[in-house]
Protein backbone atom coordinates (compact mmCIF):
# COMPACT_ATOMS: atom_id res chain seq x y z
CA UNK A 1 0.00 0.00 0.00
CA UNK A 2 2.72 2.47 0.94
CA UNK A 3 4.62 1.43 -2.16
CA UNK A 4 1.58 2.16 -4.28
CA UNK A 5 0.95 5.47 -2.58
CA UNK A 6 4.44 6.88 -2.58
CA UNK A 7 6.30 5.58 -5.61
CA UNK A 8 4.67 7.87 -8.17
CA UNK A 9 4.90 11.14 -6.21
CA UNK A 10 8.50 10.24 -5.41
CA UNK A 11 9.34 9.57 -9.06
CA UNK A 12 7.73 12.87 -10.07
CA UNK A 13 9.63 14.78 -7.42
CA UNK A 14 12.89 13.17 -8.53
CA UNK A 15 12.14 14.11 -12.14
CA UNK A 16 11.41 17.71 -11.17
CA UNK A 17 14.57 18.02 -9.08
CA UNK A 18 16.73 16.52 -11.84
CA UNK A 19 15.40 18.88 -14.51
CA UNK A 20 15.66 21.88 -12.20
CA UNK A 21 19.22 21.10 -11.15
CA UNK A 22 20.27 20.48 -14.76
CA UNK A 23 18.71 23.78 -15.79
CA UNK A 24 20.18 25.63 -12.81
CA UNK A 25 23.75 24.61 -13.69
CA UNK A 26 23.09 25.06 -17.40
CA UNK A 27 23.79 21.45 -18.27
CA UNK A 28 20.76 21.73 -20.55
CA UNK A 29 20.54 24.96 -22.52
CA UNK A 30 17.59 27.32 -22.80
CA UNK A 31 16.40 25.74 -26.04
CA UNK A 32 16.05 22.29 -24.46
CA UNK A 33 14.46 23.86 -21.39
CA UNK A 34 11.85 25.54 -23.59
CA UNK A 35 11.04 22.24 -25.28
CA UNK A 36 10.59 20.61 -21.87
CA UNK A 37 8.29 23.46 -20.85
CA UNK A 38 6.28 23.09 -24.06
CA UNK A 39 5.89 19.39 -23.39
CA UNK A 40 4.29 20.19 -20.03
CA UNK A 41 2.01 22.83 -21.52
CA UNK A 42 0.97 20.55 -24.37
CA UNK A 43 0.16 17.78 -21.89
CA UNK A 44 -2.35 20.11 -20.22
CA UNK A 45 -3.75 21.18 -23.59
CA UNK A 46 -4.21 17.67 -24.98
CA UNK A 47 -5.55 16.07 -21.83
CA UNK A 48 -8.01 18.91 -21.23
CA UNK A 49 -9.34 18.74 -24.79
CA UNK A 50 -9.50 14.97 -24.44
CA UNK A 51 -11.97 15.44 -21.58
CA UNK A 52 -14.50 16.93 -24.00
CA UNK A 53 -13.62 15.20 -27.28
CA UNK A 54 -12.59 11.84 -25.87
CA UNK A 55 -14.37 11.15 -22.60
CA UNK A 56 -17.55 13.07 -23.40
CA UNK A 57 -17.52 12.40 -27.14
CA UNK A 58 -18.42 15.94 -28.21
CA UNK A 59 -16.42 17.55 -30.98
CA UNK A 60 -14.83 20.81 -29.89
CA UNK A 61 -12.45 22.44 -32.39
CA UNK A 62 -11.94 25.79 -30.70
CA UNK A 63 -9.62 24.90 -27.85
CA UNK A 64 -7.13 27.65 -28.79
CA UNK A 65 -9.76 30.27 -28.01
CA UNK A 66 -9.71 29.28 -24.33
CA UNK A 67 -5.93 29.05 -24.31
CA UNK A 68 -5.98 32.65 -25.58
CA UNK A 69 -8.34 33.82 -22.83
CA UNK A 70 -6.12 32.29 -20.15
CA UNK A 71 -2.95 33.64 -21.77
CA UNK A 72 -4.24 37.20 -22.05
CA UNK A 73 -6.01 37.41 -18.69
CA UNK A 74 -3.06 36.05 -16.72
CA UNK A 75 -0.51 38.09 -18.71
CA UNK A 76 -2.36 41.36 -18.24
CA UNK A 77 -2.88 40.61 -14.54
CA UNK A 78 0.72 39.64 -13.83
CA UNK A 79 2.15 42.58 -15.81
CA UNK A 80 -0.22 45.07 -14.17
CA UNK A 81 0.31 43.67 -10.68
CA UNK A 82 4.04 43.06 -10.56
CA UNK A 83 5.85 45.21 -13.16
CA UNK A 84 6.34 48.76 -14.30
CA UNK A 85 4.52 48.93 -17.62
CA UNK A 86 3.94 51.61 -20.24
CA UNK A 87 0.20 51.00 -20.38
CA UNK A 88 -0.60 49.86 -16.86
CA UNK A 89 1.91 52.09 -15.01
CA UNK A 90 3.59 51.31 -11.70
CA UNK A 91 3.20 47.81 -10.19
CA UNK A 92 0.12 47.50 -8.00
CA UNK A 93 1.87 45.07 -5.67
CA UNK A 94 5.54 44.89 -4.65
CA UNK A 95 7.35 42.84 -7.38
CA UNK A 96 8.97 40.57 -4.77
CA UNK A 97 5.55 38.99 -4.19
CA UNK A 98 5.43 37.87 -7.82
CA UNK A 99 6.40 34.30 -6.95
CA UNK A 100 3.40 33.99 -4.60
CA UNK A 101 1.05 35.90 -6.86
CA UNK A 102 1.94 34.07 -10.06
CA UNK A 103 0.03 30.81 -9.41
CA UNK A 104 -2.98 32.85 -8.32
CA UNK A 105 -2.76 34.89 -11.51
CA UNK A 106 -2.64 31.65 -13.51
CA UNK A 107 -5.72 30.38 -11.69
CA UNK A 108 -7.50 33.67 -12.46
CA UNK A 109 -6.69 33.13 -16.15
CA UNK A 110 -8.08 29.60 -15.85
CA UNK A 111 -11.29 30.82 -14.23
CA UNK A 112 -11.76 33.45 -16.95
CA UNK A 113 -11.25 30.76 -19.61
CA UNK A 114 -13.72 28.48 -17.82
CA UNK A 115 -16.38 31.18 -18.12
CA UNK A 116 -15.48 31.64 -21.78
CA UNK A 117 -16.16 27.89 -22.00
CA UNK A 118 -19.84 28.73 -21.53
CA UNK A 119 -19.70 30.01 -25.13
CA UNK A 120 -19.58 26.41 -26.33
CA UNK A 121 -21.24 24.68 -23.38
CA UNK A 122 -24.61 26.40 -23.77
CA UNK A 123 -25.11 25.60 -27.47
CA UNK A 124 -24.00 22.01 -26.76
CA UNK A 125 -27.28 21.43 -24.88
CA UNK A 126 -29.20 21.52 -28.14
CA UNK A 127 -26.79 20.23 -30.74
CA UNK A 128 -23.86 17.90 -31.07
CA UNK A 129 -21.58 16.45 -33.74
CA UNK A 130 -20.86 18.57 -36.82
CA UNK A 131 -23.00 21.49 -35.72
CA UNK A 132 -21.26 21.82 -32.40
CA UNK A 133 -17.90 21.65 -34.21
CA UNK A 134 -18.88 24.69 -36.28
CA UNK A 135 -20.04 26.56 -33.18
CA UNK A 136 -16.74 25.90 -31.42
CA UNK A 137 -14.75 27.20 -34.40
CA UNK A 138 -16.94 30.29 -34.27
CA UNK A 139 -16.19 30.66 -30.55
CA UNK A 140 -12.47 30.49 -31.32
CA UNK A 141 -12.82 33.32 -33.87
CA UNK A 142 -15.02 35.42 -31.58
CA UNK A 143 -12.34 35.34 -28.89
CA UNK A 144 -9.45 36.14 -31.26
CA UNK A 145 -11.36 38.98 -32.91
CA UNK A 146 -12.19 40.42 -29.51
CA UNK A 147 -8.50 40.39 -28.56
CA UNK A 148 -7.47 42.01 -31.85
CA UNK A 149 -9.95 44.81 -31.24
CA UNK A 150 -8.92 45.67 -27.70
CA UNK A 151 -6.14 48.17 -28.25
CA UNK A 152 -5.20 48.44 -24.59
CA UNK A 153 -3.78 44.88 -24.62
CA UNK A 154 -1.91 45.43 -27.86
CA UNK A 155 -4.56 44.42 -30.38
CA UNK A 156 -3.12 42.67 -33.41
CA UNK A 157 0.44 43.66 -32.38
CA UNK A 158 0.37 41.37 -29.38
CA UNK A 159 1.15 41.89 -25.73
CA UNK A 160 4.47 41.59 -23.95
CA UNK A 161 6.22 42.28 -20.66
CA UNK A 162 5.77 38.88 -19.02
CA UNK A 163 9.53 38.29 -18.96
CA UNK A 164 9.75 41.07 -16.38
CA UNK A 165 7.45 39.06 -14.12
CA UNK A 166 9.88 36.14 -14.39
CA UNK A 167 12.78 38.49 -13.61
CA UNK A 168 10.86 39.74 -10.57
CA UNK A 169 10.61 36.13 -9.36
CA UNK A 170 14.28 35.52 -10.08
CA UNK A 171 15.19 38.58 -7.97
CA UNK A 172 13.77 36.70 -4.99
CA UNK A 173 15.52 33.41 -5.72
CA UNK A 174 17.73 32.54 -8.69
CA UNK A 175 16.05 29.28 -9.75
CA UNK A 176 14.34 28.20 -13.01
CA UNK A 177 10.88 29.26 -11.83
CA UNK A 178 8.96 28.41 -14.97
CA UNK A 179 10.07 24.76 -14.83
CA UNK A 180 8.65 24.60 -11.32
CA UNK A 181 5.32 26.22 -12.26
CA UNK A 182 4.80 24.28 -15.48
CA UNK A 183 5.59 21.03 -13.71
CA UNK A 184 3.30 21.81 -10.79
CA UNK A 185 0.33 22.81 -12.91
CA UNK A 186 0.78 19.90 -15.32
CA UNK A 187 0.71 17.42 -12.46
CA UNK A 188 -2.26 19.15 -10.82
CA UNK A 189 -4.18 19.21 -14.10
CA UNK A 190 -3.65 15.50 -14.68
CA UNK A 191 -4.69 14.73 -11.10
CA UNK A 192 -7.82 16.85 -11.50
CA UNK A 193 -8.82 15.17 -14.77
CA UNK A 194 -8.06 11.70 -13.45
CA UNK A 195 -10.06 12.26 -10.28
CA UNK A 196 -12.93 13.62 -12.30
CA UNK A 197 -13.25 10.79 -14.81
CA UNK A 198 -12.61 8.04 -12.26
CA UNK A 199 -15.47 9.13 -9.99
CA UNK A 200 -19.05 8.00 -10.47
CA UNK A 201 -19.91 11.68 -10.78
CA UNK A 202 -17.49 12.26 -13.65
CA UNK A 203 -18.35 9.00 -15.38
CA UNK A 204 -21.61 10.73 -16.21
CA UNK A 205 -19.79 12.32 -19.16
CA UNK A 206 -18.63 8.90 -20.38
CA UNK A 207 -22.27 7.81 -20.24
CA UNK A 208 -23.11 10.84 -22.41
CA UNK A 209 -20.51 9.72 -24.92
CA UNK A 210 -21.88 6.20 -25.12
CA UNK A 211 -25.61 6.85 -25.09
CA UNK A 212 -26.83 10.33 -24.30
CA UNK A 213 -30.52 9.38 -24.23
CA UNK A 214 -29.90 6.52 -21.82
CA UNK A 215 -27.73 8.83 -19.69
CA UNK A 216 -30.47 11.45 -19.39
CA UNK A 217 -33.19 8.89 -18.67
CA UNK A 218 -31.03 6.91 -16.23
CA UNK A 219 -30.59 9.88 -13.89
CA UNK A 220 -27.60 11.80 -15.32
CA UNK A 221 -28.27 15.54 -15.52
CA UNK A 222 -26.70 15.77 -18.96
CA UNK A 223 -26.86 19.55 -19.31
CA UNK A 224 -25.15 20.09 -15.98
CA UNK A 225 -22.49 17.49 -16.74
CA UNK A 226 -21.75 19.06 -20.13
CA UNK A 227 -21.45 22.46 -18.49
CA UNK A 228 -19.01 21.13 -15.89
CA UNK A 229 -16.92 19.21 -18.44
CA UNK A 230 -16.67 22.14 -20.85
CA UNK A 231 -15.78 24.54 -18.04
CA UNK A 232 -13.18 22.19 -16.57
CA UNK A 233 -11.68 21.59 -20.00
CA UNK A 234 -11.52 25.27 -21.00
CA UNK A 235 -10.37 26.28 -17.53
CA UNK A 236 -7.37 23.95 -17.74
CA UNK A 237 -6.71 25.20 -21.28
CA UNK A 238 -6.66 28.71 -19.81
CA UNK A 239 -4.01 27.70 -17.28
CA UNK A 240 -1.96 26.18 -20.10
CA UNK A 241 -2.35 29.48 -21.97
CA UNK A 242 -1.10 31.46 -18.98
CA UNK A 243 1.97 29.23 -18.70
CA UNK A 244 2.60 29.46 -22.45
CA UNK A 245 2.44 33.28 -22.37
CA UNK A 246 4.96 33.46 -19.54
CA UNK A 247 7.34 30.95 -21.09
CA UNK A 248 7.41 32.83 -24.42
CA UNK A 249 7.17 36.26 -22.78
CA UNK A 250 5.00 37.49 -25.61
CA UNK A 251 1.50 36.72 -26.87
CA UNK A 252 -0.05 37.47 -30.21
CA UNK A 253 -3.66 36.74 -31.21
CA UNK A 254 -2.35 34.91 -34.29
CA UNK A 255 -0.76 32.21 -32.17
CA UNK A 256 -4.23 31.15 -30.95
CA UNK A 257 -5.98 30.71 -34.26
CA UNK A 258 -7.46 27.58 -35.75
CA UNK A 259 -3.97 26.14 -36.39
CA UNK A 260 -3.36 25.95 -32.64
CA UNK A 261 -6.75 24.30 -32.15
CA UNK A 262 -5.80 21.80 -34.84
CA UNK A 263 -2.55 21.02 -33.01
CA UNK A 264 -4.61 20.24 -29.92
CA UNK A 265 -6.94 17.99 -31.93
CA UNK A 266 -4.01 16.16 -33.52
CA UNK A 267 -2.60 15.43 -30.07
CA UNK A 268 -5.93 14.05 -28.81
CA UNK A 269 -6.46 11.77 -31.83
CA UNK A 270 -2.82 10.72 -31.86
CA UNK A 271 -3.00 9.64 -28.23
CA UNK A 272 -6.38 7.97 -28.28
CA UNK A 273 -9.85 9.17 -27.33
CA UNK A 274 -10.56 9.08 -23.65
CA UNK A 275 -7.10 7.90 -22.61
CA UNK A 276 -5.25 10.17 -20.20
CA UNK A 277 -1.95 8.37 -20.58
CA UNK A 278 -2.48 8.49 -24.34
CA UNK A 279 -2.84 12.26 -24.20
CA UNK A 280 0.34 12.59 -22.16
CA UNK A 281 2.28 10.32 -24.48
CA UNK A 282 1.06 12.05 -27.63
CA UNK A 283 1.80 15.51 -26.19
CA UNK A 284 5.41 14.43 -25.60
CA UNK A 285 5.75 12.85 -29.05
CA UNK A 286 4.03 15.70 -30.84
CA UNK A 287 6.13 18.43 -29.19
CA UNK A 288 9.34 16.59 -30.05
CA UNK A 289 8.12 15.99 -33.60
CA UNK A 290 7.32 19.68 -34.05
CA UNK A 291 10.85 20.55 -32.99
CA UNK A 292 12.45 17.88 -35.19
CA UNK A 293 10.50 19.14 -38.17
CA UNK A 294 11.32 22.79 -37.45
CA UNK A 295 13.97 22.97 -40.25
CA UNK A 296 11.17 22.18 -42.73
CA UNK A 297 9.51 25.44 -41.63
CA UNK A 298 6.06 25.82 -43.18
CA UNK A 299 6.36 22.45 -44.93
CA UNK A 300 5.97 20.81 -41.54
CA UNK A 301 2.28 21.62 -41.91
CA UNK A 302 2.29 19.25 -44.82
CA UNK A 303 4.08 16.57 -42.85
CA UNK A 304 1.93 16.71 -39.71
CA UNK A 305 -1.51 16.45 -41.33
CA UNK A 306 -0.06 13.68 -43.48
CA UNK A 307 0.90 11.89 -40.28
CA UNK A 308 -2.67 12.27 -39.06
CA UNK A 309 -4.05 10.81 -42.29
CA UNK A 310 -1.68 7.85 -42.07
CA UNK A 311 -2.62 7.35 -38.42
CA UNK A 312 -6.35 7.38 -39.23
CA UNK A 313 -5.75 4.80 -41.97
CA UNK A 314 -3.75 2.33 -39.95
CA UNK A 315 -4.65 2.97 -36.33
CA UNK A 316 -7.86 5.01 -36.17
CA UNK A 317 -8.16 4.59 -32.41
CA UNK A 318 -4.87 6.41 -31.72
CA UNK A 319 -1.78 5.14 -29.94
CA UNK A 320 -3.60 3.97 -26.83
CA UNK A 321 -7.18 3.52 -28.02
CA UNK A 322 -9.35 4.24 -25.03
CA UNK A 323 -7.12 2.26 -22.72
CA UNK A 324 -4.72 3.55 -20.11
CA UNK A 325 -1.10 2.49 -19.76
CA UNK A 326 -2.03 0.36 -16.75
CA UNK A 327 -4.47 -1.64 -18.90
CA UNK A 328 -1.66 -2.61 -21.26
CA UNK A 329 0.92 -3.22 -18.53
CA UNK A 330 -1.13 -4.51 -15.58
CA UNK A 331 2.01 -4.65 -13.47
CA UNK A 332 1.96 -0.87 -13.27
CA UNK A 333 -1.13 -1.15 -11.10
CA UNK A 334 1.17 -2.27 -8.33
CA UNK A 335 2.53 1.27 -8.28
CA UNK A 336 -0.47 3.24 -9.32
CA UNK A 337 -4.09 2.58 -10.18
CA UNK A 338 -5.02 4.66 -13.13
CA UNK A 339 -8.77 4.07 -13.18
Amino acid sequence: MTKQKLSVPFALLALLMTVMVLAQYEVIDLYIQTIILFIGINIIISSSLNLVNGHMGEFSCGHAGFIAVGAYVSSVLSVALFTQDRVFGAPLLPPQYAFIGFPLVLLAGGIAAAFAGLLVALPSFKTRGDYLAIITIAANYIIITLVINIDKIGGARGFMGMKRVIFAMEDVAEIPWMILWVFLFTVLSIIAIRRFVSSTYGKGIIAIQQDEVAAEIMSVNTNKMKLIAFMLSSGLAGIAGGLYAHVIGYVNPKSFDILKSTEALVMVYLGGMGSITGSILSAVLFTLLLELLRPLQIIKWVAIPLLLIILMQFRPEGIMGNRELSDIFPRLKKFYRFK
Binding site: G204, A207, Q210, D211, A214, E216, M218, N221
Partner: protein, 255 residues
Protein backbone atom coordinates in the same frame (compact mmCIF):
# COMPACT_ATOMS: atom_id res chain seq x y z
CA UNK B 1 -51.74 4.65 -2.12
CA UNK B 2 -51.67 5.72 -5.74
CA UNK B 3 -48.21 5.49 -7.28
CA UNK B 4 -48.92 6.78 -10.76
CA UNK B 5 -51.94 8.65 -12.00
CA UNK B 6 -52.31 9.69 -15.62
CA UNK B 7 -55.26 11.83 -16.63
CA UNK B 8 -56.32 12.68 -20.16
CA UNK B 9 -52.86 12.29 -21.61
CA UNK B 10 -52.70 13.29 -25.27
CA UNK B 11 -49.70 13.46 -27.56
CA UNK B 12 -49.46 14.83 -31.06
CA UNK B 13 -46.39 14.52 -33.27
CA UNK B 14 -46.71 17.39 -35.76
CA UNK B 15 -50.38 16.77 -36.41
CA UNK B 16 -50.29 13.01 -35.99
CA UNK B 17 -52.18 11.84 -32.94
CA UNK B 18 -50.02 9.22 -31.21
CA UNK B 19 -52.05 9.01 -28.04
CA UNK B 20 -55.40 10.43 -27.13
CA UNK B 21 -57.12 10.81 -23.81
CA UNK B 22 -55.18 8.11 -21.98
CA UNK B 23 -56.08 7.49 -18.33
CA UNK B 24 -54.65 5.04 -15.84
CA UNK B 25 -54.06 4.70 -12.14
CA UNK B 26 -51.43 2.42 -10.63
CA UNK B 27 -51.68 1.47 -6.98
CA UNK B 28 -48.78 0.62 -4.70
CA UNK B 29 -47.27 -2.78 -5.39
CA UNK B 30 -49.34 -3.47 -8.49
CA UNK B 31 -48.05 -5.28 -11.55
CA UNK B 32 -49.87 -3.93 -14.56
CA UNK B 33 -49.53 -4.59 -18.28
CA UNK B 34 -49.86 -2.40 -21.33
CA UNK B 35 -50.38 -4.20 -24.61
CA UNK B 36 -51.34 -3.37 -28.15
CA UNK B 37 -50.32 -4.03 -31.74
CA UNK B 38 -47.19 -2.48 -33.25
CA UNK B 39 -47.31 1.29 -33.46
CA UNK B 40 -50.23 1.53 -31.05
CA UNK B 41 -48.48 4.13 -28.87
CA UNK B 42 -47.27 1.98 -25.98
CA UNK B 43 -43.69 3.24 -25.94
CA UNK B 44 -45.01 6.78 -26.38
CA UNK B 45 -46.79 6.39 -23.04
CA UNK B 46 -43.53 5.31 -21.38
CA UNK B 47 -41.58 8.12 -23.04
CA UNK B 48 -44.13 10.59 -21.71
CA UNK B 49 -44.00 9.18 -18.19
CA UNK B 50 -40.19 9.17 -18.10
CA UNK B 51 -40.14 12.80 -19.25
CA UNK B 52 -38.48 12.11 -22.60
CA UNK B 53 -41.45 13.72 -24.38
CA UNK B 54 -43.46 16.62 -23.05
CA UNK B 55 -47.19 15.84 -23.44
CA UNK B 56 -49.38 18.01 -25.67
CA UNK B 57 -52.12 17.76 -23.07
CA UNK B 58 -52.82 15.92 -19.86
CA UNK B 59 -51.38 15.40 -16.44
CA UNK B 60 -49.05 12.78 -14.99
CA UNK B 61 -48.62 12.61 -11.25
CA UNK B 62 -46.33 10.36 -9.27
CA UNK B 63 -46.94 9.71 -5.56
CA UNK B 64 -49.34 12.64 -5.55
CA UNK B 65 -46.87 15.09 -7.12
CA UNK B 66 -47.28 16.33 -10.70
CA UNK B 67 -44.28 15.32 -12.84
CA UNK B 68 -45.33 16.70 -16.21
CA UNK B 69 -42.68 19.14 -17.42
CA UNK B 70 -39.83 17.57 -15.46
CA UNK B 71 -36.68 16.48 -17.27
CA UNK B 72 -36.00 12.74 -17.57
CA UNK B 73 -33.22 12.77 -14.95
CA UNK B 74 -35.52 14.59 -12.52
CA UNK B 75 -38.25 12.00 -13.07
CA UNK B 76 -35.72 9.24 -12.34
CA UNK B 77 -34.62 11.06 -9.21
CA UNK B 78 -38.26 11.09 -8.04
CA UNK B 79 -38.34 7.30 -8.30
CA UNK B 80 -39.34 6.09 -11.76
CA UNK B 81 -36.84 3.87 -13.57
CA UNK B 82 -37.21 2.19 -16.91
CA UNK B 83 -35.67 -0.19 -19.40
CA UNK B 84 -35.72 0.15 -23.15
CA UNK B 85 -37.24 -1.90 -25.93
CA UNK B 86 -33.89 -2.03 -27.72
CA UNK B 87 -31.41 -2.44 -24.86
CA UNK B 88 -29.57 0.80 -24.15
CA UNK B 89 -26.63 0.03 -21.92
CA UNK B 90 -23.38 2.01 -21.92
CA UNK B 91 -21.49 -0.55 -23.91
CA UNK B 92 -17.90 0.57 -23.40
CA UNK B 93 -18.20 0.69 -19.62
CA UNK B 94 -18.07 -2.29 -17.31
CA UNK B 95 -21.30 -3.83 -16.07
CA UNK B 96 -20.43 -2.62 -12.58
CA UNK B 97 -19.98 0.97 -13.80
CA UNK B 98 -23.29 0.77 -15.64
CA UNK B 99 -25.07 -0.14 -12.45
CA UNK B 100 -23.18 2.36 -10.28
CA UNK B 101 -23.91 5.18 -12.70
CA UNK B 102 -27.68 4.82 -12.42
CA UNK B 103 -27.30 6.27 -8.91
CA UNK B 104 -26.06 9.52 -10.46
CA UNK B 105 -29.02 11.56 -9.21
CA UNK B 106 -28.35 10.60 -5.59
CA UNK B 107 -24.57 10.70 -5.33
CA UNK B 108 -24.58 12.72 -2.14
CA UNK B 109 -21.28 14.48 -2.78
CA UNK B 110 -20.29 17.53 -4.75
CA UNK B 111 -17.56 18.47 -7.17
CA UNK B 112 -15.36 19.78 -4.36
CA UNK B 113 -15.50 16.42 -2.56
CA UNK B 114 -14.50 14.77 -5.81
CA UNK B 115 -11.37 16.87 -6.40
CA UNK B 116 -10.17 16.73 -2.81
CA UNK B 117 -11.18 13.08 -2.28
CA UNK B 118 -12.84 13.97 1.02
CA UNK B 119 -14.08 11.46 3.57
CA UNK B 120 -17.61 12.05 2.36
CA UNK B 121 -16.53 11.15 -1.18
CA UNK B 122 -14.80 7.95 -0.08
CA UNK B 123 -17.76 6.89 2.02
CA UNK B 124 -20.39 7.58 -0.64
CA UNK B 125 -18.40 5.93 -3.44
CA UNK B 126 -18.10 2.92 -1.17
CA UNK B 127 -21.84 2.81 -0.56
CA UNK B 128 -22.62 3.27 -4.26
CA UNK B 129 -20.31 0.39 -5.09
CA UNK B 130 -21.74 -1.80 -2.34
CA UNK B 131 -25.30 -1.28 -3.56
CA UNK B 132 -24.24 -2.08 -7.12
CA UNK B 133 -22.41 -5.21 -5.95
CA UNK B 134 -25.46 -6.30 -3.98
CA UNK B 135 -27.60 -5.99 -7.10
CA UNK B 136 -25.03 -7.94 -9.11
CA UNK B 137 -25.19 -10.70 -6.51
CA UNK B 138 -28.97 -10.75 -6.53
CA UNK B 139 -29.05 -11.02 -10.31
CA UNK B 140 -26.18 -13.56 -10.35
CA UNK B 141 -24.10 -11.19 -12.45
CA UNK B 142 -21.10 -11.03 -10.12
CA UNK B 143 -18.85 -12.96 -12.55
CA UNK B 144 -19.48 -10.47 -15.36
CA UNK B 145 -19.03 -7.34 -13.20
CA UNK B 146 -15.87 -6.34 -15.05
CA UNK B 147 -17.11 -7.34 -18.51
CA UNK B 148 -18.41 -4.87 -21.06
CA UNK B 149 -22.14 -5.32 -21.78
CA UNK B 150 -21.56 -5.62 -25.53
CA UNK B 151 -19.70 -8.89 -24.89
CA UNK B 152 -22.63 -10.44 -23.01
CA UNK B 153 -25.47 -12.53 -24.37
CA UNK B 154 -28.74 -10.82 -25.11
CA UNK B 155 -30.41 -12.40 -22.11
CA UNK B 156 -27.68 -11.22 -19.75
CA UNK B 157 -27.84 -7.72 -21.22
CA UNK B 158 -31.56 -7.65 -20.39
CA UNK B 159 -30.76 -8.64 -16.82
CA UNK B 160 -28.08 -5.96 -16.54
CA UNK B 161 -30.52 -3.37 -17.81
CA UNK B 162 -33.12 -4.35 -15.22
CA UNK B 163 -30.45 -4.32 -12.48
CA UNK B 164 -29.36 -0.86 -13.64
CA UNK B 165 -32.94 0.39 -13.42
CA UNK B 166 -33.27 -0.96 -9.87
CA UNK B 167 -30.00 0.67 -8.88
CA UNK B 168 -31.67 4.09 -8.79
CA UNK B 169 -33.99 2.75 -6.06
CA UNK B 170 -37.27 3.32 -7.92
CA UNK B 171 -40.82 3.15 -6.57
CA UNK B 172 -42.11 2.38 -10.04
CA UNK B 173 -40.36 0.28 -12.66
CA UNK B 174 -41.31 0.61 -16.31
CA UNK B 175 -40.33 -2.40 -18.43
CA UNK B 176 -40.51 -1.85 -22.16
CA UNK B 177 -40.88 -5.28 -23.79
CA UNK B 178 -38.50 -7.16 -21.48
CA UNK B 179 -39.08 -10.46 -23.30
CA UNK B 180 -38.42 -9.10 -26.79
CA UNK B 181 -35.83 -11.17 -28.60
CA UNK B 182 -35.43 -13.76 -25.85
CA UNK B 183 -35.53 -17.50 -26.57
CA UNK B 184 -38.49 -19.24 -24.91
CA UNK B 185 -36.31 -20.89 -22.26
CA UNK B 186 -35.13 -17.45 -21.12
CA UNK B 187 -38.69 -16.11 -21.18
CA UNK B 188 -39.70 -18.54 -18.45
CA UNK B 189 -36.73 -17.40 -16.40
CA UNK B 190 -37.64 -13.76 -17.03
CA UNK B 191 -41.20 -14.31 -15.80
CA UNK B 192 -39.82 -15.76 -12.56
CA UNK B 193 -37.33 -12.90 -12.28
CA UNK B 194 -39.96 -10.18 -12.69
CA UNK B 195 -42.29 -11.89 -10.24
CA UNK B 196 -39.42 -12.17 -7.78
CA UNK B 197 -38.40 -8.49 -8.20
CA UNK B 198 -41.99 -7.46 -7.70
CA UNK B 199 -42.23 -9.38 -4.45
CA UNK B 200 -38.73 -8.70 -3.12
CA UNK B 201 -38.36 -4.99 -3.92
CA UNK B 202 -42.02 -4.24 -3.17
CA UNK B 203 -42.37 -1.84 -6.04
CA UNK B 204 -45.03 -1.18 -8.64
CA UNK B 205 -44.21 -2.50 -12.10
CA UNK B 206 -45.78 -1.43 -15.34
CA UNK B 207 -44.80 -3.42 -18.39
CA UNK B 208 -45.26 -3.33 -22.11
CA UNK B 209 -45.15 -6.78 -23.64
CA UNK B 210 -46.03 -8.51 -26.85
CA UNK B 211 -45.78 -12.08 -25.64
CA UNK B 212 -49.15 -12.99 -24.19
CA UNK B 213 -47.63 -15.71 -22.04
CA UNK B 214 -45.64 -13.12 -20.10
CA UNK B 215 -48.43 -10.61 -19.58
CA UNK B 216 -51.07 -13.18 -18.82
CA UNK B 217 -49.01 -14.94 -16.17
CA UNK B 218 -47.69 -11.79 -14.46
CA UNK B 219 -50.13 -8.90 -14.63
CA UNK B 220 -53.15 -8.48 -12.42
CA UNK B 221 -54.59 -5.86 -14.74
CA UNK B 222 -54.05 -5.07 -18.41
CA UNK B 223 -54.73 -2.04 -20.57
CA UNK B 224 -54.97 -2.52 -24.33
CA UNK B 225 -54.39 0.36 -26.72
CA UNK B 226 -54.66 0.57 -30.47
CA UNK B 227 -53.99 3.66 -32.61
CA UNK B 228 -53.41 5.70 -29.45
CA UNK B 229 -56.81 4.91 -27.97
CA UNK B 230 -57.62 2.60 -25.05
CA UNK B 231 -59.81 -0.18 -26.39
CA UNK B 232 -60.04 -2.44 -23.34
CA UNK B 233 -59.13 -2.70 -19.68
CA UNK B 234 -59.42 -5.54 -17.23
CA UNK B 235 -58.03 -8.77 -15.83
CA UNK B 236 -56.08 -11.12 -18.15
CA UNK B 237 -59.13 -13.36 -18.57
CA UNK B 238 -61.39 -10.49 -19.51
CA UNK B 239 -58.85 -9.18 -21.99
CA UNK B 240 -58.35 -12.56 -23.61
CA UNK B 241 -62.03 -12.77 -24.51
CA UNK B 242 -62.66 -9.12 -25.24
CA UNK B 243 -64.00 -8.83 -28.81
CA UNK B 244 -62.22 -5.51 -29.53
CA UNK B 245 -58.88 -6.95 -28.46
CA UNK B 246 -59.29 -10.02 -30.63
CA UNK B 247 -60.22 -7.71 -33.48
CA UNK B 248 -57.17 -5.49 -32.95
CA UNK B 249 -54.76 -8.42 -32.81
CA UNK B 250 -56.28 -10.87 -35.28
CA UNK B 251 -58.22 -8.54 -37.53
CA UNK B 252 -61.92 -8.41 -38.26
CA UNK B 253 -63.24 -11.84 -39.18
CA UNK B 254 -66.42 -10.54 -40.77
CA UNK B 255 -64.82 -9.36 -43.95
Amino acid sequence: MTVLKITELTQYFSGLCALSDFNIQLEEGELVGLIGPNGAGKTTVFNLVSGFYQPTEGLISFLGQPITGLKPHQVTARGIARTFQNIRLWNEMTVLDNIMLAQHSALGYGIRDLFFRTGRYQQREHEIRDLAMELLDIFKLREVAEEKPKNLSYGLQRKVEIARALSSKPQLLLLDEPAAGLPSRDVVELIDLIRWIHREFKIAIWMIEHQMKVVMSLCSRITVIDFGVVIAEGTPEEIQHHPDVIKAYLGDDQL
